[in-house]
């Protein structure tokens, strides 16, 4: 971030005349007089163990895409209320700068006691990185006529239209900009949400938000997939994120062809907030539940198998004697040569948001798919799933289609800059 950008950000943040937001505080950057322990000591403490994990904001790909789902995530969809392109660019630049600082961690000394503090303080005076990632993505609506971006829209980006069993709430669907804010602890995420929204109030208005969490690792192995609200393991058959060839084929935008050049190293992000009718589900026999999913609930093994990651061998079961032909895992990933290119990188968090008007728990799945081509991958899978038996127990209510571009390349770059170049 250049000095000018930083000043303009600080001005937005409330006019507090802060001289320096300490970056890389572990090396002793800022000083505060009032603290009873030295900042270096405090930094050492908050950096200990689980809070120390630091994800580089800058790089080739945005940091929140490939790693396993962080324990907590909040999605914040924003609509641009900017009058013009320069203003929008400024806001996006600010988001990137602020996200970079938050992911790096640091101290926020109070310099003017009678001014609103530059940071909410909900994490204390020293912010630990805590594995925070901020993934920035753009919705199709950003590419309308307002900012002269129509000609640069990613080739496969559309608004998310309803599938036959959806009940989409327009107020919780879509958005010009989506932030996926994820970290190891809930307070880190909540803090980042608040600090990211603060400096761009005049430019980006919150449209919807939703918070989720993944279950604790309860084994049996450190790789066992976590469970969703239905009690089943979620995300067992994800492609191998450590294999760059697979990621180039399934996740990162195609080079050339119909894709504009600025989309390189980006990916399409599908978000679906899927309400799960758990009271109803809890009235279903275990055998029927497992038949709908195609897996054992306890182990996550495919029916007739023993281990979670065992191949379900649909080829041995063409008539569905073992795993029903309309079981979720068979429709979602038939494991046939023709569907290999349809696989998606799946991330999911469980959400809970109180009760519906009928006194039923309003809980569900914050489903995310990263993929190279929404129509070839996510939509093709979803169309197969349209009439799966599980559909009676879930209602997709919101979300949207977005494009998450490449990461900022270096500390003075910002996510989305090639779009405006």
């Amino acid at each position: 971030m250049s000095e000018i950008d930083r000043r303009s950000f600080l001005k937005r943040a409330g006019g507090v005349g802060l001289g320096g937001i300490a970056a890389g505080y572990g090396l002793g950057a800022a000083t505060t007089a009032n603290a009873s322990e030295s900042e270096a000591e405090m930094a050492g403490r908050v950096n200990a163990a689980e809070l120390a994990d630091r994800r580089d904001f800058d790089g080739v790909h945005q940091a929140g895409i490939l790693p396993p789902a962080a324990s907590f995530a909040t999605f914040l969809a924003l609509d641009s209320i900017c009058g013009g392109r320069a203003e929008l660019m400024g806001a996006l630049q600010t988001i990137s700068s602020r996200a970079r600082e938050l992911t790096r961690g640091g101290a926020f000394p109070v310099e003017e006691y009678d001014a609103p503090p530059a940071d909410s303080g909900t994490l204390g005076p020293v912010i630990a990185p805590d594995g925070l990632t901020v993934t920035i993505a753009f919705g199709a609506s950003l590419f309308d006529g307002r900012y002269g971006l129509a000609a640069r829209k990613p080739a496969h980006l559309t608004a998310m239209s309803a599938f036959p069993h959806d009940d989409l709430d327009p107020a919780r669907t879509g958005g010009d900009v989506l932030l996926q804010i994820a970290a190891g602890h809930q307070d880190t995420v909540a803090h980042a949400v608040r600090e990211l929204a603060r400096p761009v109030r005049a430019e980006l208005a919150p449209r919807w938000t939703m918070a989720g969490a993944v279950g604790a690792q309860r084994g049996p192995s450190p790789h066992s997939s976590r469970r969703n609200h239905f009690g089943f393991r979620d995300g067992t058959s994800d492609p191998d994120v450590t294999d760059p060839k697979v990621m180039d084929r399934l996740v990162w935008a195609e080079r050339g062809g119909a894709e504009p050049a600025w989309t390189a190293d980006g990916t399409y992000q599908v978000v679906r907030t899927i309400r799960m009718h758990v009271e109803f589900w809890d009235r279903v026999g275990l055998h029927e539940q497992e038949e709908m999913i195609g897996r054992k609930r306890d182990t996550g093994a495919p029916l007739g198998g023993t281990g979670e990651f065992e191949n379900p061998r649909f080829d041995l079961d063409p008539r569905g004697e073992r795993i029903a032909l309309d079981a979720h895992i068979r429709l979602a990933n038939p494991r046939e040569p023709a569907t290999i290119d349809q696989r998606i990188l799946r991330r999911a968090w469980n959400y809970s948001q109180g009760l519906d008007p009928a006194g039923q728990l309003d809980v569900g799945l914050l489903f995310v798919a990263f993929n190279q081509n929404i129509q070839r991958q996510f939509t093709a899978i979803q169309e197969r799933l349209n009439n799966e038996p599980m559909i009676d127990y879930v209602t997709p209510e919101g979300g949207g289609y977005f494009f998450a571009p490449a990461a900022a390349r270096h500390p003075s770059d910002w996510v989305g800059s090639p779009l405006f170049a």
């Binding site: 959806d166 009940d167 061998r313 041995l316 008007p357 009928a358 039923q360």
Partner: protein
């Protein structure tokens, strides 16, 4: 059994047979437990019934009162992992998965004490025929009210149109067991806007709810003439469609449970009829459909475990609750938004309890044994 709700925060009178009792709460629990118990066969059932009874006691005691004494449950420790202690609170010593594995084994080697003997598909011929006659009557009533609705709209009489709309909707929902099988026709008559790409502005948003939106948002009736004509054309096919529906025994038995699951999900939540707020009366229509289906299935359910009586008790209790709410609103069905929190909680809670009994019905009426599936290893050997 009759349950009266003279007033939400008032005392509650329980009538078992001819004996009115107004017992202290603890006594309600024990009376209810005895009444609902029906000599259950296994300990988990006792626990389930005791919990249901405790819930009932809390419900009867009115809203906002303290919860009843917790029901004692056996807690055991089962071996899982040397470092992990797993406590079992369901009253048995097996996990759900272990129970399921044993049940599966039992289906391979049925013996004394095993599952109920499966019913024959022919056993369902009479219930389904009765249901078909019932649903034809309801379909005819839908048609009659839609015709009136069309007339009201042509005459610009919004008040009469609303009344006829509600009647048509009532009778459509009382078809209950049919609507899962009506496919496209159901979407055309009763489809919501949320499934459509452009929501309420979508050209395919037609049928009852398109008209509901117009009538309850003050849209000029002239704009509703064409949707009403479309609805009348679609509804004209209803009676024949209902007559021709293929209903398998499994579908029919499942409907006894799921008509009201749909009502809880879509109607009591206000999703299905958002403009008229008719969610409560719609739920009561679904109750009527369920009562009819259960009545036709009763001869089959008799003697198959202890399913019938708890179901009938809960149906009667839910009916008593909605009737009392109706009385509290001067005899007319209140819009969802007009319910007090206490009324809402009574309705939601007693429907939840009813659903937890109704889910026993399909299981008690299976026409085939749960078939054990082969293992991957077995299929591999078969291939070789």
């Amino acid at each position: 059994m009759d349950i009266l709700f003279p007033n939400c925060d008032d005392y509650v009178t329980l009538v078992f047979g001819n004996d009115p009792v107004t017992p202290p709460r603890r006594a309600v629990l024990s009376v209810a437990a005895v009444r609902f118990g029906r000599t259950p066969r296994n300990p988990p059932a006792v626990v389930a019934i005791a919990i249901a009874a405790a819930t009932l006691a809390a419900l009867l005691a009115g809203c906002g009162s303290s919860s009843p004494e917790p029901v004692a449950r056996s807690i055991r420790t089962i071996g899982a992992h040397p470092d992990i202690t797993v406590e079992e609170v369901t009253g048995g010593h097996l996990s759900v998965q272990q129970e399921a594995a044993i049940a599966m084994e039992r289906t391979k080697n049925p013996g004394p004490g095993g599952d109920l003997q499966p019913l024959h598909a022919e056993d369902f011929v009479k219930p389904v025929a009765e249901y078909r006659r019932y649903s034809e009557r309801e379909a005819k009533a839908v048609q009659r009210h839609v015709e009136s609705l069309q007339g009201d709209i042509a005459a610009g009489d919004v008040g009469a149109a609303k009344r006829d709309w509600l009647d048509a909707y009532d009778h459509y929902l009382r078809l209950g067991a049919a609507y899962g099988a009506l496919g496209t026709l159901d979407e055309q008559i009763d489809g919501n806007s949320g499934r459509l790409p452009d929501g309420v502005h979508d050209p395919d948003f037609t049928g009852l709810h398109r008209i509901e939106m117009g009538l309850w948002t003050g849209e000029p009736t002239a704009g509703l003439r064409s949707p009403a004509a479309y609805l009348a054309r679609r509804v004209a096919h209803l009676q024949v469609a209902v007559r021709r529906i293929a209903i398998s025994p499994l579908t029919y038995a499942t409907r006894a449970h799921e008509i009201l699951e749909d009502a809880q999900r879509d109607m009591l939540s206000g999703v299905d009829a958002p403009w008229s707020g008719a969610g409560l009366r719609a739920t009561v229509d679904s109750l009527a459909a369920t009562e009819f289906v259960v009545r036709t299935l009763k001869p089959l359910l008799n003697g198959r475990g202890s399913t019938v009586e708890p179901v009938e008790n809960e149906l009667a209790r839910f009916r008593a609750v909605v009737d009392s709410v109706r009385r509290e609103h001067g005899g007319a069905w209140p819009a969802l938004g007009a319910l007090t929190q206490c009324q809402r909680e009574r309705v939601d809670g007693s429907l939840g309890a009813l659903l937890q009994r109704l889910d026993d019905v399909p299981g008690a009426l299976e026409v085939k044994r749960t078939k054990p599936y082969p293992t991957i290893a077995e299929q591999r050997r078969e291939r070789q």
